[in-house]
Amino acid sequence: MSSIIRGRVWKYGDNINTDIISPGQYMSLPAEKQAEHAMEAIDPSFSEKVRPGDIIVAGKNFGSGSSRETAQMVLKHLKVGAVAASSFARIFFRNSINVGLPVVEIADTSLIHEGDEIEINLIEGTVWNHTRKEEYRGTKLPEHLVDMVKLGGLEPYLAKKLGISKSQEEVK
């Protein structure tokens, strides 16, 4: 996983919870079917309009609620490039690191607007807004997670730790 991500912004507010990202009633369906319903409670056309590499920018407490990794699964299936938020719910943040969905916490996301082109440096926790020519300093990734993020998540990290080389190729 590259630690630099550039993409176009879809903007949302506070408390985008896991029931919004991945509604419970569709969780037993295959990933592609679940993905059609991502965010539909607040933005019914999200799955149709989002393009590979687009970035979700939101307010406080993104991903609150459930521990369901289907939230990351549907966003990855839609090829969302990254999520930037003022703050994340704890389990969502952790799951994102584990599955290699890039996430960055920047205190004030109100300066970023829908349609902006932004570039995220995951390791440094910084965001450059190409549209507005502004830089936002966020929270630097904790040191013990840098390796995991660079490798692309927990599975390749474990593969390395356990000395299994094959799985690294299969992961991505």
């Binding site: 408390n15 919870n17 029931d19 919004i20 509604p23 419970g24 009633q25 969780m27 037993s28 369906l29 539909e40 409670a41 607040i42 406080k60 407490n61 609150s64 609620g65 459930s66 521990s67 369901r68 990794e69 289907t70 990351q72 703050s87 719910a89 704890r90 389990i91 952790r94 799951n95 584990n98 599955v99 904790p142 013990h144 998540g153 927990l154 599975e155 474990l158 593969a159 730790k161 356990l162 299994i164 094959k166 799985s167 299969e170 992961v171």
Partner: protein, 424 residues
């Protein structure tokens, strides 16, 4: 310096004499719990790619509860996959059709004071009500736990929530936790633990304590803990646990991030209104709001004490003919005990429908999801938009007593008037 309950448990689990909030530690969970929807069928592909060998099967507990009974072929497939996986890996602890995982692991003695419990569900924190450190993790993280028996955790700071005084009739631990979440806020305890303490907490039964720890995550907390005491011992003995039980509490000089103080005697029934769990108001503010469905159940408030309270209110009364009332006991044990006590008869005679123990409609999975424009009054733990079915539905949360009172009136009702008119 003294340690909090969280610090003590994580120090032991990481093999260190002392840890403090903020430390990153490698810990060895005592229990790795998975349920059907976020368990083996999601874990298995990565688990196999990394060798597919369990580090210690005796620490793995799998509970099929979200897809039970299956409402669709997809759910049936997930259930079958989970059952086959448990058999293939010769798991000593696999439960299905017995109720929500959090209640099942408590009743089967897997939860003990001082244990570290990780589970693929955010309400895993419920086990903290018995003095364990319990928190939710994702399915990928579980792969690492299954393979290596360990993972990393950041030792959380602790918010201490002290409830002294005595609850008045019609007011319950659900009201205490809703009030607490209102004040801390939906994300106010993110990355922190909450420890509930005080005389009002100590006087609660195990059934009622688990409500508090269950909902700690609704304030964003990593876990919710309650000091373990003789009530925990009594509970475990009643479940046939004979081993020595080591009680656990925070040291007197432990450092807390902050402490909140409450007087239980002043508390009124609380209702969490759509669509956030911290959107909490005293019942008077929403009294009279018409509902379509009433839901008494879940890992939060489907236990025996909850069903007893509802039966006390509904005995000799009828629910409103404009609504349906679904009762979902939190476990097979609760179902059987409620049946023995005549509670299920009382509820059925009042017009309630008693379902099987399951996660059911609480998460919008099976047996009672709601349609567009429908309003539910529920004893469960989450009222997010779309949580119980349609994104155009609305969910209100309250105590089992508030739920029962609402069932009678067909509108959100104050349970206190029914408690005072208790039929003897």
């Amino acid at each position: 310096m003294g340690m909090t309950m969280s610090e003590k448990i994580l120090a032991r689990s990481s093999g260190q004499g002392e840890v403090k909030a903020g430390d990153i530690v490698w810990v060895k969970p005592d229990i790795a719990m998975m349920h059907d929807l976020l368990g083996p069928w999601l874990v298995d592909p990565g688990f196999r790619r990394l060798g597919g060998r369990l580090y210690d099967r005796d620490k793995v507990v799998v509970v099929s509860d979200h897809c039970t009974p299956p409402a669709t072929v997809q759910q049936a497939d997930i259930l079958k996959f989970t059952r086959d996986w448990a058999r293939e890996h010769e798991l000593p602890y696999y439960y299905e059709f017995e109720g929500p995982c959090h209640q099942v692991i408590v009743e089967h003695g897997h939860v003990r004071p001082g244990r570290l419990i990780l589970g693929t569900d955010s309400h895993t924190c419920m086990a903290g009500g018995m003095g364990a450190f319990a928190t939710g993790i994702g399915s990928t993280e579980m792969i690492g736990v299954l393979l290596t028996g360990e993972t990393w955790l950041k030792v959380p700071e602790t918010i201490k929530v002290v409830w002294d005084g005595e609850l008045r009739p019609g007011v319950f631990s659900k009201d205490m936790v809703l009030k607490t979440i209102k004040d801390i806020g939906h994300a106010g305890a993110t990355y922190q633990a909450i420890e509930f303490s005080g005389s009002a907490i100590r006087s609660l039964s195990m059934d009622d304590r688990l409500v508090l720890s269950n909902m700690a995550v609704e304030a964003g907390a990593k876990t919710g803990l309650i000091e373990s005491d003789e009530e925990v011992v009594r509970f475990l003995r009643s479940k046939g646990v004979t081993d020595e039980i080591e009680l656990l509490s925070s040291d007197e000089d432990a450092v807390f991030a902050k402490t909140l103080y409450y007087n239980a005697s002043e508390l009124e029934p609380q209702i969490a209104c759509p669509h956030e769990v911290d959107n909490v108001h005293p019942v008077q503010a929403v009294e009279g709001t018409p509902v379509d469905q009433v839901y008494l159940g879940s890992c939060t408030n489907g236990r025996l004490s909850d069903l007893r309270t509802a039966a006390q209110i509904l005995k000799g009364r009828k629910i409103s003919k404009h609504i349906r009332c679904l009762v979902v006991p939190a476990s097979q044990y609760v179902w059987m005990q409620a049946n023995k006590e005549g509670i299920l008869d009382i509820l059925a005679e009042a017009g309630c429908v008693v379902n099987m123990p399951s996660c059911g409609a609480c998460g919008g999975f099976t047996s009672g999801v709601i349609g567009a424009g429908e309003v539910v009054m529920s004893s469960s733990n989450r009222n997010f938009r779309g949580r119980m079915g349609s994104a155009q539905g609305e969910v209100y949360l309250g105590s089992p007593a508030a739920v029962a009172a609402t069932a009678i009136e067909g509108k959100i009702a104050d349970p206190r008037k029914y408690m005072e008119l208790e039929v003897h």
